[in-house]
């Protein structure tokens, strides 16, 4: 093709170059183009890598929280120790402390070891009974108080294993680390391994992690996110009941009714600035206004919910206004044209049409509120809470925790087993957020309308 005679006009200069050959300048520029593209691709790669590493480490560290090691042993519930009066009166039995149950359990563990004929050098009695969690005695006591007839019987119990033993089976604790650890020893771990080989010690799915309350520093194996989930749900309830109607109401006024003047300008600027105020400032507001001034209780979901409401309002208002704006004016004109009042045109036509957008924005606002931590620290949600809050509305005033705060709380403990718990709580949190976002995407897809 290129050897075709080239038609040339008279003035064309001899220096005219062929299109088929890239000149030096073009080659240089194309190299720059390639480099630029590479930078862009690298940026995307870095962002994706960060996401993958982040999620990977969380799942790696946190999946352990959903499995727990138990020791399955028969326990002789000695009537002389557990019911000294022998009359099975629940009130008197309740006076028997967990300490006594601990003794019963210790005996049961030792008996099991003897029965299985396990011989390990240099193992003390304390190390044998230390196989099980300090929480185990409370576990058994609970069961006995619920059913006093069990006393005197031999019952099969799955007792929680000690956190170190549990960690050993999950790979968190090794023989080397145990040698330097005053809370466990290689001998104890060898015994645990023997028990596991004989099928007495099992690691299985840990429902308790989702339902248990928090536990003290000494017993990470018993800690769960039950109260935290409940507290988070209560706060979401408050946010849903307050932020959504107020946010939608404010948006309707600003978008549909407000005259264009200095006042509405101030409100608008104010809302967009409020959306960018650091969340911790809302915490200060909550502390000063709701707790110190209004006298509401600390650590209560109602206060957390109010703070999160104020924090999510701008988000909801901004997305709701966008949804209202997307409804074409022709719809409003059509309604007004058949004699509807302004208010009727908004509530009968504009609002239903904007609903999917409003819902999506609301869910995203709620998701943001669910993951928020900093303001809740300031209103006392970090407190150690062992009792479940009552049902709403009274329960809104009971102390509770929240999922993200529980995570923070556990990162402040010394036992590394709590890092596993914290990561596990994050997995729970992320699953909640994932579901909410999925719902938002579903709503957007299902009701998406192009005008």
């Amino acid at each position: 093709m290129t050897d075709m005679p080239m038609p040339r006009s008279g003035t064309a200069s001899a220096a005219k170059s062929s299109l088929m050959v890239a000149d030096a300048n073009t080659r240089r520029r194309n190299a720059a183009e390639k480099r630029f593209r590479l930078y862009g691709a690298t940026a995307i790669g870095v962002a994706l890598l960060a996401l993958v590493v982040l999620l990977f480490t969380i799942v790696r560290d946190g999946s352990g929280a959903f499995r727990q090691t138990y020791l399955a042993i028969p326990v002789q519930l000695n009537a002389e120790v557990l019911d000294p009066k022998g009359n099975r009166n629940p009130e008197e039995m309740a006076k028997v402390l967990t300490l006594s149950y601990g003794k019963v359990l210790d005996a049961a563990v030792e008996a099991a070891v003897v029965r299985e004929n396990i011989q390990i050098q240099g193992l003390t009695e304390k190390q044998i009974s230390g196989l099980i969690s300090k929480e185990a005695s409370a576990q058994v006591r609970h069961r006995v108080l619920a059913n006093p007839d069990l006393i005197g019987q031999m019952i099969d119990v799955d007792v929680l294993a000690n956190g170190r033993v549990d960690g050993f089976f999950k790979g968190r604790v090794s023989m080397e680390s145990a040698a330097n650890d005053k809370n466990t020893s290689p001998e104890q771990l060898m015994l645990a391994q023997e028990l596991r080989d004989r099928g007495l010690m099992v690691t299985r799915f840990n429902w308790n992690f989702l339902t248990n309350p928090d536990a003290s520093d000494q017993r990470p194996e018993a800690a769960g996110v039950g109260i935290a989930i409940l507290g988070s749900l209560y706060m979401m309830l408050v946010v849903l009941l307050l932020a959504v109607p107020i946010g939608v109401g404010a948006s309707i006024y600003l978008e549909e009714f407000a005259p264009k003047n200095k006042w509405t300008d101030i409100i608008e600027v104010n809302i967009s600035n409020l959306a960018a105020v650091p969340s911790i400032v809302f915490g200060i507001l909550g502390l000063a206004a709701f707790i110190n001034f209004a006298g509401l209780p600390q650590s209560a979901p109602i206060v957390g919910g109010l703070v999160l409401t104020l924090m999510t309002l701008p988000t909801i208002i901004i997305s709701t206004r966008a949804a209202l704006k997307a409804v074409p004016p022709s719809i409003r004109d059509a309604a007004l044209g058949v004699g509807a009042s302004k208010m009727q045109s908004v509530f009968h036509h504009v609002l239903p049409l904007a609903m999917p957008g409003i819902l999506t924005g609301t869910i995203i606002g709620l998701a943001q509120a669910l993951g928020e931590t900093a303001p809740l620290l300031l209103i006392g949600m970090v407190a150690f809470v062992k009792n479940y809050p009552a049902a709403p509305p009274e329960g809104l005033f009971d102390p509770a925790s929240a999922l993200p705060v529980q995570v923070y709380n556990w990162t402040q403990r010394s036992d590394p087993a709590f890092i596993e718990r914290a990561s596990g709580a994050i997995i729970v949190l992320l699953i909640f957020l994932f579901c909410m976002n999925l719902l938002a995407i579903y709503l957007r897809r299902k009701f998406e309308r192009r005008w």
């Binding site: 093709m1 290129t2 038609p7 006009s9 062929s18 299109l19 088929m20 300048n25 073009t26």
Partner: protein, 265 residues
């Protein structure tokens, strides 16, 4: 005015600059250009006319491969510039566009100074060695676009501050500054008022001395005023191509006649 222009139009025509053979363009499933073959001459103004959506702009954008920027566009057939296939694998569209400049429907000066707008092309194509050369090129281009006298005292003010007609002439100057061989104009006057339009048309007539100019227009009067050759497009087909005088006075095809007399379009 019509007659006067016709007399002026009787200028000698150059050799073949661009030749297109059996060009097909698809936008996804849509077949936008069908079997178009046309030879565009050097030192001539060629007008593409036709009703909206007839494919005239699409075809124009094929000539400097601007359609490459639309991911769903697909082009078949052969378009040659001076005998070289511009869709050959070895051809760099960047180099091609330096030779085949383009002026768009809406004036689109960059948000930079007038000087920087015109100097943009020479700079990226590495056409100058020093500032003095560049100054010279800018002045030449602005003179070529008949804008120099209006802007020479405010070269460093933003190009967006000019009036619509001045902006479009600035865009022409910007295209001319890279010393192209072909100048493509996509409805260059559609956003301009009548006075600015006549200035730009005058300019187009002058540009013919140096370049092959292809202009898409929806105004038949404009085609008649500025062009020597006219191509009539309809529904993706090139219906008729010939001397402008012939197209407007004795069209061969009934569709052309219908369009010219205002019955379609």
């Amino acid at each position: 005015m019509y007659d006067m222009n016709r007399v002026e139009n009787a200028v000698s025509q150059g050799d073949i600059k661009i030749s297109a053979n059996d060009v097909q363009v698809y936008y996804g499933d849509k077949h936008a250009i069908k079997d178009v073959s046309v030879d565009i001459l050097d030192k001539t103004v060629t007008a593409f006319i036709g009703p909206s959506g007839c494919g005239k702009s699409t075809f124009l954008r094929c000539i400097n491969r601007m359609n490459d920027t639309i991911p769903i566009a697909r082009i078949e057939g052969r378009i040659a510039l001076d005998g070289e296939d511009i869709y050959d694998r070895r051809v760099d569209p960047v180099q091609l566009r330096a030779k085949v400049g383009m002026v768009f429907q809406k004036p689109n000066p960059f948000p930079k100074s007038i000087y920087d707008n015109v100097a943009y092309g020479p700079r990226i194509h590495g056409m100058t060695r020093n500032r003095a050369d560049l100054d010279q090129i800018v002045e030449k281009a602005l003179r070529g676009a008949a804008l120099w006298n209006e802007v020479k005292d405010r070269l460093h003010e933003p190009g967006t501050g000019l009036s619509g007609g001045q902006q479009q002439r600035l865009c022409i100057a910007r295209a001319v500054a890279t010393e192209p061989e072909v100048l493509l104009m996509d409805e260059p006057c559609s956003a301009l008022d009548p006075i600015a339009t006549s200035q730009v048309e005058e300019l187009i007539d002058q540009l013919r001395e140096k370049y092959s100019v292809v202009i898409v227009t929806h105004s038949m009067q404009q085609a008649a005023r500025v062009s020597q050759k006219t191509a009539f497009f309809h529904l993706g087909h090139l219906v008729e191509y010939g001397d402008t005088d012939d197209i407007f006075t004795k069209p061969q095809d009934s569709r052309t006649e219908a369009y010219i007399s205002g019955r379609i379009g």
